[in-house]
Symmetry: C2
């Protein structure tokens, strides 16, 4: 629709560096980064025209950051999120089958592992983990997210999780919503600044351990000792580089062991907390019964019968890393649909478009992990809040002149 | 309005006994009991016509029982109750100045101490306390409450709390609502059966003790030892005859020490529980947020700022002496009006006639004891529930034929 202006990387930001490491050294098959920009840009054209296509008019991309450790449910979350927008997220058509990108009508989800500057061999050689910032190219991450946000398509590298190598880049056109998910979306202050909303999936060590035991010991035959050792080995870098990002998140989904069963360490029944930062533009936290007060609620009773150990909700204001937050917590799990709709009917500020939308979304993806507990519930709710945030941003950009009520 | 039928005590109930003890023996100045009955009675007239006046047409009196120990706030409760009905409760005009009765437009409150069969001297001689059933005439209590309920005026004895003697009886005409308050309204099964609604004020031993210390030690100069001794002396009879009545109450107001201050024994800040029996005709229990589930609520937060130690509410289903009950609990006290209206706005099934009626009633009697805590709040709420119960009973008696909606 919009005509295009031609310009080069260099004209966009003179502070940028675009490393083009040799394959021999890093296994990094990176081409020159291509940037595409719509006509609305005020920047002048450059002497190095690389333009191939154009962004979708002047609607700026809304950028969402999702941080979490590997294997913590980011992809499930993304499937829930794109479902809220009505589309199905799929890998780019005709591209690298090992692409980490998911594209739906409105949303593009890119995996920040694609910004690894060191591949598996490279990390091994240098003795750094993927969690280490030195294994990641934050300059490129910043440049490309910034470009997409400004309506410019980019050629993003691909980290191949199967081979552990960096594959040839893929074209990412500016979507309505860009989700950057991975280990470090809020690590670099420049990238952080680009985020319209940020989420941190915080799985407690106890639950991580229980999940790993379940998967690696029961399903893959690893020993308890080796599982413990792998968690311990990962911990220092995780604590140094990943965990501190949660202080910047607008929403944190915290996954803890249940408190309904004393000394439970099975990790099957979870206590999940949705920590929502107050004062975030276009984001009005969900609450239970009474905004701003402190409430605990056991919905199981005369109207709702739950099986052992039941369900317990909590809501209240708290302080989280010095920020005022509102917390909604769910301990326990749903047995049936009526429990979910009952709970939904008592939550406020859900940003649903019709009564029961949360329940409908949860039912639609009943086979996704976490559908019977707070992880699925809060992922779905955060999805609705992001849709609402997106719509508010779009509406605020429209800037309709206010008409006088009087003739 | 209604013409009157003449009959005698004996024609009413042949099982009755009407003791007429001598003044010398018991100080009991009791005349023959006079019973008045409206025309609607199906009973035949008797050979001993004692009729003086008639009851108010065929509207049966609604009878409420209120049980509590002496000095536990029954009279405050009664003033709150009559205020809900719009009138002011006053002693009978031109009668014994030491009458224990309070009469308003709609309500007559009689004190069951008037049914003492033994006066102070008599109790001392026989070595029984006023709590002992042997010091009380349950046959007469039953006969007279039954008569009033059926629209028949009675001549009720008066126990003079000043002199400790039994004075000449006073005429009690059948009111719209009769409240029988005292030590034993639910003790006798026959009397209990006559009650349309019953309330037990249950002051815990810790609070009773703190109150007594406050009053008897600080204000009257009694020693701690003598206070302890008087409580201990009273306890066996209280536990044997008064306390067991709470199992029959439709509503119990339980007054306990606060849990907001660890190890508090001042008795100034109270945790008050309103225990409401389920399945009582014309009585729909008050609830907080969600009927039938379990909730704790600290209203103090972003919208409402409370001073230390704050206010905490609880609501949930429980079992009380084998009965299903709904409990609303308030711990702490109100500092200001806005706290009260805020709380009122979150309680449901209050049976108010307009928004803020509970707060209005509480403000009207801000000088009554307990106005800043759960005792005043729940007394007011029970008053509203009794008004609602009364109106439902009256409406159900009217038995208006149901009109078809279609012509």
């Amino acid at each position: 629709m919009a005509a295009c202006t031609v310009y080069t990387t260099q004209s966009l930001n003179t502070n940028c560096s675009f490393p083009t490491p040799s394959k021999a050294h890093l296994g990094f098959h990176q081409k020159q980064v291509l940037l595409y920009r719509s006509r609305t840009s005020s920047r002048s054209s450059s002497s190095r025209p690389w333009v191939i296509t154009c962004a979708a008019g002047d609607s700026q991309t809304v950028v969402i950051g999702l941080a979490a450790d590997s294997g913590c449910g980011k992809s499930t979350f993304m499937r829930r999120l794109t479902s809220v927008f009505g589309g199905t997220a799929e890998p780019p058509k005709g591209g690298n089958p090992d692409s980490n990108t998911l594209i739906s009508d409105t949303t593009t989800v890119i995996c920040l592992d694609d910004y690894h500057s060191l591949d598996r061999t490279g990390r091994k050689e240098k003795g750094v983990t993927a969690l280490d910032p030195r294994a990641n190219n934050f300059d490129l991450m910043y440049e490309q997210v910034k470009a997409i946000k400004e309506g410019i398509a980019v050629e993003k590298p691909i980290y191949n999780h199967v081979t552990g190598l960096l594959d040839a880049p893929e074209l990412i056109k500016p979507p309505k919503i860009l989700v950057i998910e991975g280990l470090h979306p809020m690590f670099d202050p420049r990238v952080r600044e680009l985020l319209d909303f940020s989420i941190y999936l915080d799985i407690s060590n106890e639950v991580k351990f229980a999940w790993k035991i379940q998967r690696d010991m029961a399903e893959r035959g690893h020993s308890l000792e080796s599982i413990k050792a792998s968690i311990e080995a990962r911990k220092p870098d995780f604590d140094a580089y990943i965990d501190p990002q949660k202080q910047y998140a607008d929403a944190v989904i915290e996954v803890l062991p249940t408190q309904l069963i004393p000394d439970d360490n099975e990790g099957k029944i979870l206590r999940v907390r949705l920590i929502q930062k107050e004062g975030v533009k276009h984001f009005s936290p969900v609450y239970l019964f009474d905004d701003g007060s402190t409430i605990s609620w056991i919905p199981c009773g005369r109207k709702l019968t739950c099986s052992y150990p039941g369900i317990k909700f909590f809501y209240g204001p708290e302080t989280y890393f010095g920020n005022e937050v509102s917390v909604v917590e769910m301990d326990g799990q749903f047995d049936r649909l009526d429990e979910l709709i009952y709970v939904e009917s008592h939550l406020s500020n859900l940003s649903t478009k019709f009564y029961g939308e949360v329940t409908q979304q949860m039912l639609k993806h009943a086979d996704f992990p976490g559908s019977s507990n707070g992880t699925g519930l809060f992922q779905t709710i955060v999805g609705l809040k992001i849709r609402d945030l997106f719509e508010q941003i779009v509406a605020s950009r429209a800037q309709t002149p206010v008409k006088s009520a009087k003739a």
